[in-house]
């Protein structure tokens, strides 16, 4: 069949192009512009080439923040993914308690980030917070405002409280889609509980689990509001993650050039790691089908 040549069809793509341009391309190009120039206000720019990038990529400040960020994401994933799977496996499958658990699990997800931060900020205070005061009362030395270890614990527990539900709910949806016949066949085959998990539940959950891991990685890697509200990046710089550092640099110190270079590299790191995650997991999937 003869293919119709009609290049007017390109006009149909135009609205999307315009929207994407205003929402993503133009702001991003502004950042690129800042990262290549030095400015002292009044819209005066002086060309700086890759100077800011060189400075940022060798700065200890960025290295430290990146290190803390990676450590935080790893800890979050290691705790939340297995915990989420465990919760999903033990949630009731139907009836009143199933709906009850779903609502209960969804609650933390519905609370705005800064409110979560405020809740834990107060909850953990030694003078008036239930948690902080309670721990002090039983003789545990806990103070997130001047002990870096306590600050980390607080932020991690808060994130687990806030986001494990997401992993659990996604896994729960994956589990619910497994036909009953699989469990029956496993009983017929005299499979152990572990085998049922390993050979039925885990493979059937793999798809949603991939999404859960990706989402949790990206979110935890970009975390800003909650630690900012709870610890403000302290004590010292101990909980200053990449985004907190970035805001300090851009809004606090008004170093727009370095901050722009920083944010571009930050963006690329997230893109790269997500891509690696995705490629590895989908290629595992393909290897299995062969």
């Amino acid at each position: 069949m003869e293919k119709t040549q009609n290049n007017k069809a390109w006009f149909l793509v135009l609205p999307v192009l315009v929207i994407v341009a205003f929402s993503a391309v133009l702001p991003l190009m502004t950042v690129v512009n800042y990262s290549m120039n030095d400015t002292f206000g009044q819209n005066e720019f002086f060309w700086n080439g890759l100077g800011w990038f060189e400075e940022m990529i060798t700065s200890d400040r960025m290295h430290d923040a990146l290190g803390r960020q990676v450590l935080f994401s790893v800890i979050i994933l290691v705790i939340e993914v297995p915990l989420g799977i465990f919760i999903a496996l033990n949630m009731p499958k139907k009836g009143f308690w199933a709906s009850f658990c779903l609502v209960l699990m969804a609650l933390p997800l519905l609370i705005p980030f800064n409110v979560v931060g405020t809740i834990w900020q107060i909850f953990g205070r030694v003078d008036i917070g239930l948690l902080g005061h309670g721990l002090a009362a039983i003789g545990i030395d806990y103070n997130y405002t001047n002990d870096p270890f306590d600050a980390w614990i607080t932020i991690i527990v808060m994130d687990v409280w806030h986001w494990t539900s997401l992993v659990a709910l996604l896994c729960y949806a994956g589990l619910q889609s497994i036909p009953q016949a699989y469990y029956q066949a496993a009983r017929i085959d005299q499979a152990s509980r572990w085998s049922v998990f390993r050979f039925i539940e885990l493979p059937k959950m793999a798809g949603v689990l991939l999404i859960a891991v990706l989402l949790r990685f990206m979110d935890s890697f970009m975390i800003y509001t909650e630690p900012f509200v709870v610890t403000g990046g302290g004590p010292g710089n101990s909980t200053t993650f990449l985004s907190i550092d970035l805001v300090k640099m851009a809004v606090g110190q008004f170093d727009l050039g370095p901050a722009a270079a920083f944010s571009l590299m930050y963006f690329l790191v997230i893109l790269l790691v997500s891509w690696v995650f995705y490629t590895v997991m989908t290629s595992l999937d393909k290897a299995e089908t062969k």
């Binding site: 016949a181 029956q184 066949a185 009983r187 005299q190 152990s192 062969k290």
Partner: protein, 358 residues
């Protein structure tokens, strides 16, 4: 291997069954002989799968006991019963290879590795999958997966029974025939008790020594294919077995004669006075279209199905089918139907009434 006894068995999915219609299975007493090949036949929703799941222990019956030999297994777990079951839709372990899938039930029972390898090869040969034993099960087609399920069902030699729940639904017709033949052969070779659930009468009649017909939560007849054909115990059996099914006509029966809209039909046996709704049933195979003797029929259409023709007609306003052999000329004057003597069954309220001497 053992004889399976169902004693006063009944099951309801409702928590507090009151009416009889609450029961998916009505009370039944049945014995399934050790080593028999049974087909469980019935339309959808008649309780076939429930009965099967009760035998395998996936469902606990509301009432009654299940016995394997002399052992009461009603409260035993599925795993403890040592039973194999193949489901309607393929169930394979996606991340395992075909070989691992087949050996899974054996490995779970801690069998010797050398024995497992030999047994898996034997089964693989039977289902024709020796060359893809090392492939992952995930990428296979639905019928290949179902063959794996069948293989997994048959891999254990010491099972008490093998249950098949419409296992060939997803398999294409040619393969269906081949697999059924293999199942049959396997039955002859190892003598497992096999129970095969299906709603396809051809499948049931070719597979089984004994066919169990279920209707509305009840076993209405358990018999050889011949018995089901010649003397259906229930009008449902008559209607369900055969293609087309038995002709059923409302009639009044006194002694050895049926009265049908003024016409009289000799029954070949004596029935005395029959109470309730009375019907006579005759297979289309035993009816003959004539131009002389018999009852008048109005022919609506004739279907040629290859080996014979099915004549769809009306007899006193009730639909009536006749099978005419290939090659028989059907003239315009052939408007009467005659019944083969002794092939008429009499039913009172759907159940067959046995005839006595005239």
């Amino acid at each position: 291997m053992a004889q399976i006894t169902l004693s006063k068995l009944a099951h309801s999915y409702a928590a507090n069954p009151t009416a009889e219609s609450d029961y998916a299975l009505k009370e039944m007493d049945h014995v399934w002989q050790d080593g028999g090949a049974y087909a469980l036949l019935g339309s959808s929703g008649c309780g076939k799968t429930t009965l099967l799941n009760i035998i395998s222990g996936l469902v606990r019956p509301s009432y009654g006991r299940v016995l394997f030999g002399d052992l009461d297994v009603t409260d035993q777990e599925t795993a403890a019963r040592n039973i194999a079951q193949v489901f309607q839709f393929p169930v394979v372990y996606d991340t395992m290879t075909v070989r691992e899938n087949l050996s899974f039930p054996l490995r779970n029972r801690g069998m010797d590795a050398a024995y497992i390898a030999a047994r898996v090869n034997q089964i693989a040969q039977m289902i024709g999958m020796e060359d893809i034993l090392n492939r992952k099960a995930r990428g296979l087609t639905a019928d290949a997966k179902q063959k794996i399920s069948l293989g997994r069902g048959m891999v254990r030699e010491d099972v008490n029974a093998i249950l098949f729940d419409e296992p060939l639904t997803v398999i294409d017709p040619h393969m269906k025939w081949e697999l059924r033949t293999q199942l049959k052969q396997l039955h002859r070779e190892f003598g497992h008790t096999m129970i095969y659930v299906t709603h396809d009468q051809t499948e049931a009649l070719t597979f089984a020594d004994k066919v169990v017909v279920m209707y509305d939560g009840r076993v209405v007849q358990m018999g050889t294919p011949e018995e089901l054909f010649e003397t259906p115990a229930h009008t449902f059996v008559g209607y369900f077995i055969g293609s087309p099914g038995m002709n059923l006509l409302d009639a009044k029966v006194t002694g050895s004669v049926a009265h049908l809209q003024g016409a009289e039909i000799a029954l070949g046996a004596g029935y005395g006075a029959v109470a309730g709704r009375t019907q006579i049933g005759i297979r289309p195979e035993y009816c003959l279209l004539t131009d002389g003797a018999g009852l008048p029929v109005t022919i609506r259409r004739i279907e040629d199905v290859g080996r014979h023709r099915i004549i769809r007609a009306d007899l006193f306003g009730q639909p009536f089918n006749v099978i005419a052999p290939e090659g028989m000329a059907i003239g315009a004057d052939m408007t009467r139907v005659a019944f083969a003597p002794g092939k008429i069954n009499v039913y009172a309220d759907d159940w067959r009434v046995a005839g006595g001497a005239i």
